[in-house]
């Protein structure tokens, strides 16, 4: 019974639905028998609490009480298999409802630019400074909604691995919301160029980011044009970073001449004009008159295509390179296993990457089955985002207003969408562990556990006003947290907890050295 119920939300259900579930569970049992060994193992002895926590720590943003019991019930192999296919996991109704409230999160890039982009003269009359200021204010609300969208999904999506991979790939293909247009496009970039591809083929992800207007602005390819009349024309910024950071890696065997060649290949990939006269439905366009049509040899390959397709050919070439396979594999192993990833694991992942034509899902499958992954529990220091999200998930408090969480990440040095440099935020202990951060994290744990963060106060105009009036404070129940982590805390932490007043224990678990790691 527990097993069948735990598949769904723990709410009481009409008898008919419950009966349907029983049938479903029976069907599932039959299916399990027919499945290959990975799935059969799921029916094997229940996993230990530590194993459950490990898989939720790495494939999800930490454990909630619900997830903890659910994975214990269905087993680890089944959980991993599910998470690798997020499209099969239904999202919670109230998450969908709340994401729908974020008006700009679903708008397309053209519409966003038209409604929130820099104002343009109308019939020759320039906008006043006041009008421009008001427009910038509106642009800030677009960014705020994009941040809230991301935080709410990280907290409540059942497609946790998908959201973890959004974190991974966004940092890999970082853009910075401080640039005027990227402030309004960063949410669209995540929704259109990142999230749909996070478990797909790397090449598709690379192309989606390359063509998104947010990237064209951020790494200046929109300025990259063919040299004419002896004037300077190339802008090599994107061409350099796409090889160094997105694909081959800095030691991937390319030189300055290759950077310039790739920049020439990508000439003409740019933003649409603000009025969009020629292509009214695109924010990003290929402009042939800006493109360098001379024949080219790139990294030893004679380019076959020309025009826009030439850029696609070059990016596909980069996506399929063994250097890219190694670079991506290293980063995945660093994110999921260890700051200094075991070389043998990186090698195996790179092989799988190449053999599967850059299938990210396949590479992750190999990674999650590796002994290196299972031997690394608790070895990674959480990034500020991972710390804040996992603390709130563990605490089980409702969040109607994610802004205090966004503020906490910024105070810890990781403002969401605020990384200026294209290498994105790092995920290593060396990058984040510091005296200042340690005390700030403890301060956050205390405020969260006491219920003094205004997480239930709602943004003005939101339909959740009633909730904020009813529950101004929401202290965390220590028993709730102890139920998840009780078995996995270190000896010192347990002794300190026993010696402390009960009212402090939730904060102590969330602020403990154990909880800083995952």
């Amino acid at each position: 019974m527990r097993r069948a119920r735990a598949l769904y939300h723990s709410v009481s259900l009409p008898a008919a639905v419950t009966a349907m579930r029983r049938r479903y569970a029976a069907l599932l049992a039959v299916l399990c028998l027919a499945m290959p060994p990975l799935y059969a193992k799921a029916a094997a002895p229940a996993p230990s609490d530590q194993q459950v926590l490990h898989v939720l720590n790495r494939l999800a943003f930490g454990s909630t009480l619900d997830d903890f019991y659910r994975v214990k019930a269905i087993g680890i192999a089944r959980y991993i298999a599910e998470q690798l296919h997020p499209e099969t996991i239904p999202e919670p109704f109230d998450l969908t409802l709340r994401l729908d409230q974020l008006g700009t999160a679903k708008a397309d890039a053209v519409e966003l630019r038209r409604l929130y982009g820099p104002l343009r003269p109308v019939l020759g009359v320039k906008p006043t400074p006041e009008e421009q200021k008001a427009q910038q204010e509106r642009a800030r609300t677009v960014l705020a909604e994009a941040q809230q969208d991301r935080i709410l999904r990280a907290l409540y999506s059942r497609r946790q691995l998908q959201e973890v991979m959004v974190d991974f790939w966004f940092n890999h293909f970082n853009v910075f919301a401080g640039e005027e247009l990227d402030r309004i496009w960063v949410g669209n970039y995540v929704a259109q160029a990142i999230r749909p591809y996070v478990l797909g083929h790397f090449r598709d992800l690379l192309l989606a980011t390359a063509k998104h207007p947010a990237m064209l602005v951020y790494l200046d390819n929109t300025q990259n044009t063919v040299q004419k009349n002896g004037g300077p024309g190339l802008n090599e910024n994107y061409a350099r970073e796409v090889m160094e950071l997105h694909t081959l890696g800095v030691d991937g065997g390319y030189a300055q001449a290759d950077v310039i060649m790739l920049a020439r290949i990508l000439t003409g990939w740019r933003l649409n004009t603000p009025d969009g006269r020629q292509f009214p439905n695109s924010a990003a366009v290929f402009v042939g008159s800006r493109h360098d049509y001379a024949p080219k040899i790139f990294l030893g390959h004679k380019m076959q295509a020309s025009g826009r397709a030439e850029g696609e050919e070059a990016l596909a070439l980069l996506a399929g390179s063994p250097a890219t396979a190694r670079h991506i594999s290293f980063e995945l192993a660093q994110y999921f296993v260890a700051d200094q990833p075991p070389p043998a694991l990186v090698e195996r992942l790179a092989k799988r990457f190449l053999a599967s034509d850059g299938d990210i899902r396949a590479v992750l499958q190999t990674l999650f089955q590796s002994p290196e992954f299972w031997n690394s529990a608790g070895d990674k220091y959480k990034t500020p985002l991972q710390y804040v999200i996992s603390a709130v998930r563990a605490a089980g408090v409702p969040v109607y207003n994610p802004r205090p969480l966004i503020g906490a990440m910024a105070a810890l040095g990781q403002p969401l969408y605020g990384c200026e440099t294209p290498d994105g935020y790092k995920n290593t202990e060396a990058a984040w562990l510091s005296p200042d951060a340690t005390l700030k994290r403890i301060g956050f744990a205390l405020a969260l556990a006491r219920g003094t963060l205004p997480l239930v106060a709602t943004p003005a105009g939101s339909p959740f006003v009633l909730v904020s009036q009813v529950r101004p404070r929401n202290p965390v129940d220590p028993a709730h947290i102890a139920a998840i982590f009780g078995a996995s805390l270190g000896e010192r932490t347990r002794a300190a907890l026993n010696a402390a007043p009960p009212g402090l224990r939730a904060a102590m678990i969330l602020g403990s050295p154990d909880f800083m790691m995952h």
Partner: protein, 419 residues
């Protein structure tokens, strides 16, 4: 130690300096410095400011005598001194970006110097490699596990206390990472607020949680110690010094606080701050614009830092570094791309400033690095070594520990610091 300090004090050097007109003119500043006689003889200090993203050194210290400079930058060049919005005059060859006007008093006092055409010998144009190398102090070597300021801290003579090196900001930069203990502080408006753990009961509970020996426990203890020091150093002085009105922009405010903290705590010997946003590929601007908007608070911050240090200015050297320079030619987008040579800024009470050091390679086509960039004629480690040797008085052995395999000393830099 104490006794020697006392003798030096009694020798009158400090007392004489205190009576100098410069100091008297600051008499309105309450309590400045003298409450902390703990550094009478002067703990020598080094402060490094990292400009991440490769600042355009050719528009910071402008080679206004070079025709090639104006030819290559028709839209973003800074005009010659005397021209409207032109460079501020430094010498016959160079001028300063007008947004750095706040630094001109230091230049005229001879407390600000530049080393032009300086940088890393490594040819990388990757920000991340470039920053790694100037922070590791080992150009071309990717495997160095620690930062040179951390190795420097270990090499400094004397017993080591808890907070000898400080980083401004919520994260520790690579330059300071390593086995030696280092603190960081945000120095934002909330920095001196009470810690949430300061209730005895809560503090005791977390002390037990973090009673172990690991890196996290160590960070916890460092954080508590640093916060206590900050509160002690700033709480009373700051309000009076600023009249409760901190400068509006972030860096000048942080720099002012850092100065007060250093003045109040003689144990801090090294400090580092990092500023981003210098990667001006697009719309860099000239006398005004994007780069100017970044330079102005930096200049004001450094000036505020020098002022705020009071007596301690003469014991302090500030170095401003960036990973590499930018292309001589402006690009189509009115910006500049990743280049090679840059300018290093050196300021401090003991600096022999008012001069642009370094061998100027010129900007004619044949003089450029790879046909596009200012060449590097001074290795950044040569500048740092000169400071380490003459200011921090490092032995050869300690120098070798800080910069393994350094380039030969540059005799041209022998006079960068007063003996």
């Amino acid at each position: 130690m104490r006794r020697r300090d006392f003798l030096r004090l009694a020798g009158g050097g400090v007392a004489a300096w205190r009576a100098s007109p410069a100091r008297q003119s600051r008499a309105g500043t309450p309590k400045s410095g003298m409450a902390h006689a703990a550094t009478p003889e002067g703990q020598k200090r080094l402060v490094v400011v990292l400009l991440r993203g490769a600042v355009d050194g050719l528009n910071v210290v402008v080679p206004h005598a070079e025709k090639a400079y104006y030819e290559a930058r028709p839209r973003i060049a800074i005009g010659r001194p005397g021209a409207p919005d032109g460079a501020l005059p430094l010498d016959a060859r160079f001028g300063l970006h007008p947004a750095l006007a706040a630094l001109m008093p230091l230049w005229r006092e001879g407390r600000l110097a530049f080393v032009h055409a300086a940088g890393s010998p490594d040819p990388t144009r990757s920000h991340f490699d470039g920053q790694f190398y100037i922070e590791s102090g080992t150009p071309g070597v990717h495997t160095t596990p620690d930062g040179w300021m951390n190795r420097l801290l270990a090499a400094l003579p004397g017993p080591h206390g808890p907070t000898e090196a400080l980083s401004v900001g919520p994260i520790l930069p690579r330059i300071l990472t390593g086995p030696m203990k280092v603190a960081n502080l945000s120095l934002g408006p909330a920095a001196t607020r009470k810690l949430p753990i300061e209730k005895p009961e809560i503090e005791a509970a977390f002390d037990r949680l973090y009673g172990g020996a690991g890196a996290l426990a160590q960070a916890y203890r460092e954080g508590k110690a640093a916060h206590a020091e900050l509160v002690a150093a700033l709480a009373s002085e700051e309000q009076a010094a600023d009249n409760g009105a901190p400068p509006p922009r972030v860096f000048p405010a942080q720099a002012g606080r850092l100065a007060l903290l250093l003045r109040g705590d003689p144990r801090i010997r090294l400090a580092c701050a990092a500023l981003g946003g210098w990667d001006t590929h697009v719309d860099q601007g000239g006398p005004e614009g994007r780069l100017a908007g970044r330079l102005r608070p930096l200049g004001e911050g450094l000036a505020a830092f020098a002022r705020g240090l009071g007596d301690e200015w003469r014991n302090t050297v500030v170095v401003v570094l960036s990973e590499f320079g930018r292309t001589l030619r402006e690009n189509d987008a009115h910006g500049t791309d990743h280049g090679h040579g840059n300018v290093i800024w050196v300021a401090g009470g003991a600096v022999r400033g008012g001069r642009v050091y370094g061998e100027w390679p010129g900007l004619a086509p044949a003089q450029l690095y790879q046909d596009r960039d200012l060449a590097v004629t001074t290795d950044f480690r040569q500048v740092l070594t000169a400071i380490l040797e003459r200011h921090l008085r490092l032995s050869d052995q300690a120098l070798a520990a800080t910069f393994p395999a350094p380039p030969a000393a540059d005799p041209g830099l022998a006079k960068l610091l007063a003996a």
